[in-house]
Symmetry: C2
Subunit: 309 residues, 2 copies
């Protein structure tokens, strides 16, 4: 491979295991797309331009139609994002896909997780939560209204890594991450690595209008589930990032240019006072607090929400 002179390299690796990260009977074409897309999402969160990828896979058997469909999805994603497959390995074993993606970025300009400052605004792209709603729909746990079904299942099966957004945020965002582990968990990673905490306004999250119906057909369970998925659902590949408030308009302009909604959902704050030298509370670093419309903090634990007030 011939690196672009003067660039640094960013690298990411992901291992996807059947039964853990995807259902063994997943459409192989979607799986091929997604296996690459989730890696490109990590490069996007670094503000890197994806260049090369390697693919190693273990397969229980040499199932040629399965491989052909997987390759179709994989190469469709590679073509869409201008990435070259430059190496690989195939072997027999329980279904497992391991991908390493390499991108390029100007020296010192990579987006990191540790650059957020107290007072920075917190942003998120798109509509996190759709993928886990799609999964719940496929698992028969919920019944989404018709138009939402296609949207949520597409978010789950064919995520679109936010590469253009990551590139646009260089020099603007102070920290970035993708929300593959869920918005709260991943924002918590930024807060922890940046030595501060985060405050989110529930009312500023993207509104999933009509999802839970209205009036007589209002479905409170679905509304609760949607909030849970927005805040703690994984497998979304939107970017969460922080930026000084003076970048607010620049970010609104990026949203318009990319035709991608960007939501300002909160701000980075000091660690709670409990975290003092006299009374250290390490759990306070990286703490993310969500406030309801009345300004009351909502209780939750790391497994999800105890309740919504």
């Amino acid at each position: 491979m011939q690196p672009t002179p003067g660039k640094q390299l960013a690298i990411t690796t992901d291992m996807l295991v059947a039964g853990t990260h995807f259902l063994p009977d997943t459409d192989p074409k979607n799986l091929g797309w997604k296996a690459l897309a989730v890696n490109l999402s990590d490069l996007a969160a670094m503000g890197a331009q994806p260049r090369w990828v390697t693919l190693a896979g273990a397969l229980p058997a040499a199932d040629e139609p399965w491989i052909a469909k997987f390759a179709e999805g994989f190469f469709a994603c590679a073509a869409e994002y201008g990435v070259d497959l430059v190496g690989g390995d195939t072997t027999r074993g329980p279904l497992n896909l391991s991908i390493t993606a390499i991108g390029e970025v100007e020296p010192g300009r990579a987006l990191r997780r540790d650059g957020a400052k107290i007072g920075d605004q917190i942003w998120v792209s798109g509509r996190p939560g759709l993928a886990s709603l799609g999964l719940a729909q496929l698992q028969g746990k919920i019944e989404l209204p018709g138009p939402w079904q296609r949207l949520c299942i597409a978010a789950l099966e064919k995520p679109r890594p936010r590469v253009a957004l990551g590139l646009a945020l260089k020099g603007i965002a102070s920290a970035a991450i993708d929300v593959s582990d869920g918005l709260l968990a991943d924002l918590g990673h930024i807060a922890e690595r940046s030595g501060c905490a985060a405050s989110l306004q529930l009312v500023k999250l993207p509104q999933l209008r009509d999802l839970a119906g209205s009036g007589a057909s209002y479905n409170a369970d679905l509304r609760r589930m949607a909030l849970d998925c927005q805040l703690a659902g994984g497998d979304d590949y939107e970017l969460c990032f922080t930026a000084p408030s003076e970048q607010h308009l620049a970010i609104r302009r990026i949203a318009a240019e990319l035709e991608l909604p960007l939501w300002c959902i909160g701000e980075m704050i000091e660690n709670p006072v409990a975290n003092t030298v006299a009374s250290p509370d390490k759990s306070a670093t990286g703490k993310v607090t969500v406030f309801d419309p009345e300004g009351q903090p909502i209780e939750f634990d790391h497994q999800g929400f105890d309740h919504f007030a």
Copy 2:
């Protein structure tokens, strides 16, 4: 990662599956060493200086002592060869290790598989075959003489990638590969990619003196097995390479400097005449023929040897 200005990158990826590539009860420290070493061997075969590595692993459970020992072996190998671990992923699943290694090489100087020319001499380093003899010993299929046991099991469990050899061969070798699939199969890859065939002299292979005993204690089965392992045994990480005959002395000098035996075992030849336009025989391209001390070709198939004359 900051690439060295003016260098190209070489990349390799390998997936190791429990039960296929290693026994599930393998000493995790040895496994950690070997998982990295086999990737560095691929970089060595390209003449690349190893720089960075990523490690993704699926584990059935978070077995901390196992992981600590694996890491000890992995980082010992990384330190020995000056490689930095720059990324990774861990997940739950059937034991699987996937490693991607990146090295650097001067533009256009990487050793390739397709550069061998008719008349080039064929070389191999060290003593290929030891690893598969070690495996046969561990599996109870053979009983090696005492001094050979340690040597063969070490070749299996703690292979030493020939990085310094690969670096020294740049500008000297015309093609190179490691013999991880067995000498004949991997030399066949060079021949096929280079559009020619190969002729090996059995008598020029490294002698495994005393391995099969002598006189009354001569063990013909062990001798046969040793030849089979030398030619077709996998899991060795020696380099097989080709070079013009005028490089013979330069290669002998490299052997002396590295204190590593290098054996001139044959030469690249034209494809057999059967492979004509009128009578195409694609199997003739890449064919490797082994000659016995009387100059008679030895019959074998790709699964191994039918007999030794």
